[in-house]
């Protein structure tokens, strides 16, 4: 093996006092070789981003590395000055961020921004800079480099922007590339392309890549070596093949066990159950107003949507961003008024009801939103928010409070928590609170709008289990909106695939996954990361040997 490009030895980064633990990263050692992709995997708060920020010299002021060394290019990065570090950034090491829009300056064309890298660090002539920039745009497979060169960031799609960021990172052929969740904000098919691009770069450049992610499927797709982190410590390290198929540490096993399987739990047949929710001919168009410089646009967000859901069924609605799933949901809960079509709930068409007439039907359909931090009012106690619904529908407050206590137990939270405020709960707990809030009014249909997308895998698994349990116990009908096919496969009975506002495929999970008929569905399925990886059944692995229990039992 050649000398490592980056060598981190015993790195400890302190958290400010009053945090949940004394160190953000503790005694971390890690090597990255040239032409190697090392994946750092962990859940939120595991210290994986702190590790990459320390290397880049971008740590927030509140955090200080207290011991250890980070050897790069023969010098310890923790000892050099900020300006020396800045010189290294871009030239010798580069970073790809999660959100490409905020990593690019909206005031300059992307061509200018890439050229700036050359301007800062080299003394190339203007023509040569431009030529190199165009070559880079080609290398990251952007169509029509000339046109892209003169585009502004907002004129490009998310995937294209991420390619620009990658091109910027590659501009000066750095020895180390740090990618911090580079595909998390992207659609499935874009993610597949970006991952492919990164693999290609490994071949053509000699850079070592540090790839920070939370997604084991992405790891399976791209990693040469894997480092698993938990609470600032490395709990397991090894080649991708070893860690993914024969995880040794209990925490790694727990994480891998929580990866959504592509197989689903068998359920009772739904045949003969009554239809509870039926949507027919639903249409919704948005008119984006034009102005002096731009003609108006018409966005057809829902085109002739038709489906029916039986009592107790879970219907998955799958689609990428912009496919119209959110608009559909908003029309169903009547936050938006559909232009045309009907929504029957137990035989009543609520699509055209006035606000007043709708009121008693509001409680039939309830929703759990995606963002666990935005869906609870930070200034009201949990109890106050839970009883809101029943009180609005005329129930007695004390009676509602008793029901809230009951529901808190059902979602496995302490009923005493009703007196607390949302900031005292984690993301997973908040999502359970949201489920409880939706159930307070005894709905017939529960819509889970990307309800588990923002959660860590292990938490995600718990919440999914809870949702399934509640559905079976209360006889709920669930509409499960997601962009994640794996999750959809695990919990749904039937699936609808949406593209550009229209339903392009429908059927049972087995049919949609086994024999997709529409090219878009086929493309989505092909874009899934980690397909070559057969997730091992953790329960069948040999028990953990005593020697490997580095970080203690979870």
């Amino acid at each position: 093996m050649s000398d490592p490009i980056l060598s981190i030895r015993n790195l400890t980064v302190d958290l400010p006092k009053g945090g949940d633990r004394p160190h953000a990263v503790e005694a971390l050692s890690l090597d990255i070789q040239p032409k190697e992709i090392v994946c750092i995997v962990g859940e939120s708060g595991s210290g994986k981003s702190i590790t990459s920020f320390t290397t880049m010299g971008l740590l927030p002021k509140a955090l200080t590395p207290s011991s250890g060394e980070v050897i790069f290019d023969g010098q310890d990065l923790l000892k050099i000055s900020a300006s020396e570090h800045a010189k290294l950034r871009g030239r010798r090491m580069a970073m790809i961020f999660q959100e490409p829009m905020s990593a690019l300056n909206p005031c300059y064309t992307v061509g200018n921004q890439i050229e700036e890298m050359f301007e800062q660090h080299t003394d190339l002539a203007a023509a040569e800079r431009r030529a190199r920039t165009l070559r880079l745009l080609q290398e990251v497979h952007l169509p029509e480099p000339e046109r892209i060169y003169t585009s502004y960031p907002h004129q490009l799609s998310g995937g294209q922007r991420q390619r620009i960021v990658i091109a910027m990172a590659l501009a000066l052929d750095p020895a180390l590339l740090i990618a911090d969740e580079p595909t998390t904000a992207l659609d499935l098919s874009t993610q597949a392309q970006i991952l492919h691009l990164l693999k290609e770069l490994r071949e053509h450049h000699s850079a070592g890549i540090m790839f920070v992610t939370h997604d084991f499927d992405v790891v399976a797709e791209i990693a040469d070596r894997v480092v698993v982190m938990k609470e600032g410590r490395i709990v397991e390290e090894g080649t991708a093949e070893e860690v993914l198929n024969r995880p040794q540490h209990p925490y790694t096993r727990l994480l891998i066990d929580a990866v959504p399987r592509r197989t689903r739990v068998e359920r009772d047949s739904l045949d003969g159950r009554p239809e509870l929710l039926k949507v027919a001919g639903l249409e919704k168009t948005y008119h984006v107003k034009g102005n002096m410089f731009r003609p108006g646009r018409i966005v057809h967000a829902c085109k002739n949507i038709e489906f029916a859901v039986r009592k107790g069924e879970t219907l998955g609605i799958v689609g990428e961003s912009g496919s119209g799933k959110s608009t559909l949901v908003k029309c169903l809960i009547r936050l938006e008024d559909p232009d045309e079509g009907a929504v029957w709930v137990e035989g009543t068409n609520i699509a055209a009801f006035s606000k007043r007439a709708l009121h008693p039907y509001r409680k039939m359909i309830q929703i759990v939103f995606q963002d666990p931090y935005g869906s609870l009012n930070p200034r009201r106690t949990i109890g106050d928010q839970l009883v809101e619904g029943p009180v609005n529908f005329g129930r007695d407050r004390a009676e509602a409070m008793a029901r809230a206590r009951e529901l808190m137990k059902i979602v496995r939270l302490d009923p005493e928590a009703l007196n607390r405020y949302p900031n005292q709960f984690s993301g997973g707990q908040r999502q359970r609170i949201c489920i409880a809030r939706a159930l307070m009014v005894e709905p017939k249909v529960l819509i889970a709008d990307e309800a588990v997308s923002a959660l860590d895998v292990s938490v995600q698994k718990e919440v999914l289990k809870l949702l399934n349990e509640i559905r079976d116990k209360m006889g709920l009908t669930v509409l499960f909106i997601t962009h994640d096919l794996r999750v959809a496969a695990q919990v749904c009975d039937n699936l609808i695939v949406m593209q550009q506002g229209a339903i392009v495929e429908r059927g049972t999970v087995d049919k949609v996954f086994g024999a997709p008929s529409h090219p878009y569905t086929q493309q989505l399925l092909a874009a899934q990361p980690g397909q070559g990886w057969d997730v091992p059944d953790v329960s069948k692995l040999p028990p953990v040997s005593a020697a490997s229990g580095v970080g203690g039992v979870v």
Binding site: P16, K17, G18, G19, D20, R21, P22, K61, A62, I333, L335, H359, R362, K363, I365, Q366, I367, F369, Q370, D371, G374, S375, L376, N377, P378, R379, R380, Q385, E388, G389, N392, F393, R420, Y421, N423, Q424, C434, R437, M440, V441
Partner: protein
């Protein structure tokens, strides 16, 4: 950074139950130097205003033509009138103490009137958007096109100066900032999912506005309130100085400055003392406003 340094000795031990918003706010408040300074200064002025009759031995209206222009103690005067007397022989300390009442009253009432008008308009515009927003934005623009001092002068000249008139004119003129800020704050909060959740749970419109929107834009409201309060106090002083505000012999700080201006070159303290008082009051209000913003919305601090 100075704050972290000041705070570190008091930091709680690691692994403590998270605080309720109110507790966390209280904790931040107790560590905020600006808040402590602002509150103290403000406290002193409010105390003087409330207990003016107990703190002074003369009436602010009683003239004593035999004891005119007595200098304050620190300029060699006698302890009898420790801040001296004015051109009509009125005790300067009494006038200053009673004048605090006028300034505070103008500030609080004018800002309250503005707050009610501005926040109702702003919240409605931010919540509904569309036509309502257009109408409110138009109103804001109309208001911004009016020169405040000029309009106030004209109105006071028409209706005659009195406390009531000054308060109402300022109240009706200073709501623009409330409307602008609350409009954009409401637009942000309105997009959050808890508002959608409340609507789906059947909450009526007033309920959503009252329970979900207002508490979450309240910190902006409080900050603007302090700013406009200071603004109103200064405007009152300016109007009184021009002779179109509170009418003599009411003890107003602006009026005191105005009355002292003829003696500016001979007895500068006649202007300095009410000027410093005015400065202290506005400073304390502004510091309080800044501190409240830091304490209620720590994420907005840089």
């Amino acid at each position: 950074m100075t704050q972290t340094a000041a705070a570190s000795p008091a930091t709680p031990p690691a692994r403590e139950a998270p605080l309720t918003p109110r507790q966390a706010m209280l904790r931040r408040a107790l560590r905020h130097r600006g808040l402590i300074f602002g509150t103290t200064l403000m406290g002193i002025i409010v105390f003087v205003a409330i207990f003016a009759p107990l703190l002074t031995q003369y009436s602010p209206y009683d003239q004593d033509l035999l004891a005119r222009m007595k200098p304050p103690v620190f300029l060699g005067g006698e302890a009898e009138h420790w801040l001296g007397t004015d051109a009509l022989g009125r005790d300067f300390w009494s006038r200053l103490a009673y004048g605090a009442r006028i300034s505070l009253m103008i500030g609080i009432f004018a800002a309250t009137i503005s707050a009610v008008i501005g926040s109702v308009l702003g919240i409605l515009a931010g919540y509904f958007g569309g036509r309502v927003d257009m109408a409110v934005t138009f109103l804001i623009n109309v208001r911004l096109a009016m020169p405040v001092v000029l309009v106030a002068l004209a109105v006071v000249a028409l209706f005659g100066g009195s406390l009531m008139v000054v308060v109402s004119v300022l109240g009706l003129l200073l709501w623009d900032r409330f409307a602008v800020v609350l409009r954009s704050a409401t637009m942000q909060v309105r997009k959050l999912e808890y508002v959608a959740a409340a609507e789906v749970l059947g909450a009526s419109l007033p309920r959503v506005l009252w329970k979900d929107i207002l508490p979450n834009v309240m910190n902006h409201l409080i900050v603007i309130f302090t700013l406009e309060m200071a603004h109103a106090i200064i405007l009152e002083a300016a109007l009184s100085f021009l002779g179109l505000g509170v009418q003599p012999p009411t003890p107003s700080w602006g009026l005191m400055i105005s009355e002292g201006k003829e003696m500016l070159l001979f007895e500068p303290w006649l202007i300095t003392i009410p000027g410093v008082a005015l400065f202290c009051l506005v400073l304390s209000i502004n510091m309080l406003g800044d501190a409240i913003r830091d304490v209620t919305a720590p994420e907005g601090r840089n």
